[in-house]
Amino acid sequence: AQSVTQPDIHITVSEGASLELRCNYSYGATPYLFWYVQSPGQGLQLLLKYFSGDTLVQGIKGFEAEFKRSQSSFNLRKPSVHWSDAAEYFCAVAFPNFGNEKLTFGTGTRLTIIP
């Protein structure tokens, strides 16, 4: 079955340090890939998306993600985190061959920033 996995439930990094959040999917072809961020008690905001083309995509708030077909991964990165980046991050995929655009989400990674 098609699925998306975020192996890290909780990550803690120091302010100013680099960040990488992992995302892997299971699917026979290339899905559409997304990263969303959620602040406590809020809805989800799109950080970036990949449909095709350049495998390194830039998003808002200084985030980027790289699609690696060989690893079925779409990891999110930021070179230097800020305290305001503390939030929950969700990777999501959509499988176009199924005739609709519904998103399947990973279980999320909670990011804590320490001074």
Partner: protein
């Protein structure tokens, strides 16, 4: 520009009571509409999606139902709430038949007591 409204923001309901959560989208036509539920540590679970008026697909068996009486209105309902229905409910929309992301409302925190 497109906006999505979801209400109420918070709701406390007794077990066995009915539920109605409403979501409306402005600034677009014929959107795909979605209801997700978020439980702690379990990510977002797709409950229902709709590609048109009166067209509802259910993803998981549950105590809830959804309806789409108008093109840009999506309602989540229950006749009798269970304790397990507590959670954070998110409505979302996307452009039909295009490679775009989903746009989310601010969510409703439902506590069943």
């Amino acid at each position: 520009s497109q906006t999505i409204h979801q209400w109420p923001a918070t709701l406390v309901q007794p077990v066995g009571s009915p539920l109605s959560l409403e979501c409306t989208v402005e600034g677009t036509s014929n959107p795909n509409l979605y209801w997700y539920r978020q439980a702690a540590g379990r990510g977002l679970q797709l409950l229902f999606y709709s590609v048109g008026i009166g067209q509802i697909s259910s993803e998981v068996p549950q105590n809830l139902s959804a309806s789409r009486p108008q093109d840009r209105q999506f309602i989540l309902s229950s006749k009798k709430l269970l304790l397990s229905d507590s959670g954070f409910y998110l409505c979302a929309w996307s452009v039909r038949r295009q490679n775009t992301e989903a746009f989310f409302g601010q969510g409703t925190r439902l506590t069943v007591v």
